[in-house]
Symmetry: C2
Subunit: 138 residues, 2 copies
DNA sequence: CAGAGCAATGCAATAAGGTTGCGTGACAAT
DNA sequence: ATTGTCACGCAACCTTATTGCATTGCTCTG
């Protein structure tokens, strides 16, 4: 979480015309700097303690509402968030052992899907489940 | 939940060499007869009351372990289960309004995915999110 | 520059969904 | 019939996330 990242975060937040608070900058910077989607717990551990659980949840929700972050659901009942740098059209990998998520930038989710009549698609989520390299070698 | 479905359920369970109990038969039959993945709550409502919450959870876990059912995660923190009639290689639709899941039999999940080195894929889950026909017309 | 107004935070309590421990009852094999 | 194991029910508990409410602190107007 270097200064450049924090500056980028601050700039992105300023575009929303909402308040630029330390919590928002810290959390968005954490997401921007991460190589993978982070859970609420990941973020709490990454950031200095002293930031309330609820605040983290609220900031994450706010970021999602402002389209600065994307919320995705794993099969462990935990939300993961990733910074919405570009339109978020790629798949994810979920390691069943360590629980970490990885972005599969190469696998696009904008594939054409044949839906039943009158169904409206909003977004497509693709999750590959398996074992990641770290866990395999361990 | 007709008798044929129950007979099929009983037969599938007998193949596991485990005990054929009413709870197992009822729940598997419910899954077999359903057009869509069912949540734990769906099942409880479908079945006559008197069956314990925990028993339902345990039977569902057991069915999953025996590969008679598949567990899938929505973004509402609720497990959904579907009978594993055939290998379960199709996508699902999740209505963001009513929360129901639908099977998209036509959309296959056995697409080739390019994984990073040393990653091992186990299964692929594709979920389309949007509004279903029922909710749209309402 | 003071003060009003509102957005953001922290703390505590609560909700929802799922899981664990343990005693009891039922079935199967001997 | 006896014994061992498997399944069930009940109660308690855990985790993750959300809500209510009081307080803080920024911002903007006058």
């Amino acid at each position: 979480m270097n200064d450049t990242t924090r500056a980028t975060a601050r700039e992105l937040i300023s575009k929303t015309r909402a308040r630029i608070t330390p919590a928002r900058v810290d959390i968005l910077a954490a997401l921007l700097g991460a190589q993978r989607p982070l859970s609420h717990l990941d973020i709490q551990e990454l950031l200095a303690p002293g930031l309330d659980r609820v605040t983290v949840y609220r900031v994450l929700d706010w970021l999602t509402a402002e389209n600065l972050a994307h919320k995705l659901s794993g099969d462990d009942r935990v939300w993961r968030f990733s910074a919405a740098k570009a339109p978020h059209h790629h798949a994810h990998f979920h390691c069943q052992q360590c629980g970490r998520f990885y972005c599969l930038e190469d696998v696009k989710t904008d594939l054409p899907v044949a839906l039943p009549k009158s169904f409206i698609a909003d977004s497509v989520e693709i999750t590959v489940k398996g074992i990641c390299a770290d866990c395999k070698s361990a």
